[in-house]
């Protein structure tokens, strides 16, 4: 999808510039080198500026959508299975940074029966009454790259933050045509319309829907990280549902916000 769009921009730009050149020649021939004020020159200028504008949008490298979808989910099923075998259960919990230089961390709750396996709780963390492990979220490096390379800013105001999420999904990563975000109490519902990585997401969900919410992929994780870092609150990934693939491939992600969470204890 992304490749097609970039190609469309490039083809459009080439056509417009070619047309601008033809109009310029026609204008020069009809104007007989006197005033250069005929409507043909105006149309030529219009085509040229439009062509340059499209050319600017069509720049950059592109990758096939299906390949990108597969690559973005590489290793997630295996990782999810390992986490589940080690006692992980429930949903992924994203913890806000513990300081100005801190990073968002992912808390993976584990079943109580698995604790004796690891002796006196070595390597385990306690959060909000449950035991689990803390790991860097999959989207951590992506978020850092966006901040460094694209000067991404995460506002602390809810409305502005949702604008930033929309901008990242639509403009920066171009993974969705349109992003609708609405809030229902403590639940934030993110609807990605015409989701670029739909095929990989569908394959993962078909294999194991539990892994999808226990070990979320980079995009679900990225949105959760942005909310957790922006609003400084705990974010739970509640559920992921997919739209009817026959029409426009879309995805709905539900996050639950928990303001004023307990401190993490190691």
């Amino acid at each position: 999808m992304e490749m097609d769009e970039r190609e469309r921009y490039r083809i459009g730009a080439s056509l417009l510039m070619g047309f601008a050149f033809l109009l310029l020649i026609a204008g020069l021939l009809t104007d007989q080198w006197r005033y250069m004020q005929t409507p043909l020159f105006m149309l030529s200028t219009t085509c040229f500026i439009g062509g340059v504008f499209l050319f600017v949008f069509g720049g950059g490298e592109s990758i096939d959508a299906r390949l990108a979808s597969r690559l973005s989910l590489q290793g997630i099923p295996a990782l999810g299975r390992i986490i589940r075998n080690l006692g992980g259960y429930g949903v992924a919990i994203f913890l806000p940074p513990d300081g100005p230089d801190g990073k968002v961390m992912q808390f993976i709750p584990t079943q109580p029966a698995c604790r004796p396996f690891f002796g006196d709780g070595g390597g385990f963390a306690y959060h909000d009454g449950s035991t689990g492990t803390v790991a860097h979220p999959l989207a951590g490096p992506v978020l850092e790259d966006l901040k460094r390379d694209n000067e991404l800013v995460l506002p602390s105001d809810y409305g502005l933050l949702m604008g930033a999420i929309r901008e990242v999904c639509e403009d920066l990563l171009s993974i969705a045509d349109r992003v609708d975000i609405r809030r229902d109490g403590d639940t934030v519902i993110v609807h990605l319309h015409n989701y670029l990585l739909y095929s990989g997401c569908a394959a993962l969900r078909k294999e194991s829907p539990e892994v999808c919410i226990l070990c979320p992929c980079s995009i679900c994780s990225l949105i959760a990280c942005m909310i957790a870092e922006g609003l400084k609150c705990e974010v739970n990934l509640n559920c992921v549902t997919q739209d009817d693939p026959g029409r426009s491939p879309g995805m709905v992600i539900r996050y639950t916000l928990k303001m004023g969470t307990d401190e993490l204890q190691s």
């Binding site: 005033y35 439009g50 949008f57 901008e167 990242v168 920066l172």
Partner: protein
């Protein structure tokens, strides 16, 4: 529809409307046309400019805006010189 596509269509509609109007009103002034066109271009760029980040294409848009500013300035200077000369 993506923001980029909306921006392109808006600019194209603006430019075509402008050239159509100027042709219909028999105002064959290329400099006036370019000055008005650039005003529309700047408004489109300002409206669609991302607020929280800088995508890859926005750097090229900035370069294009710089060139358009120079051209716009040139058109204005030429017009002022024309007025001064009477």
């Amino acid at each position: 529809m993506r923001k980029r596509s909306v921006a392109s269509i808006t600019l194209a509609v603006w430019m075509l409307t402008l050239s159509g109007l100027m042709s219909m009103c028999h105002i064959p002034d290329l400099r006036l046309f370019m000055a008005t066109l650039f005003v529309g271009f700047f408004i489109v760029v300002y409206t669609f400019h991302p607020m929280f980040s800088k995508p890859g294409y926005i750097r090229n848009i900035h370069r294009m805006a710089a060139v358009c500013t120079v051209l716009f300035g040139l058109v204005i200077v030429l017009r002022i010189l024309e007025l001064v000369r009477g």
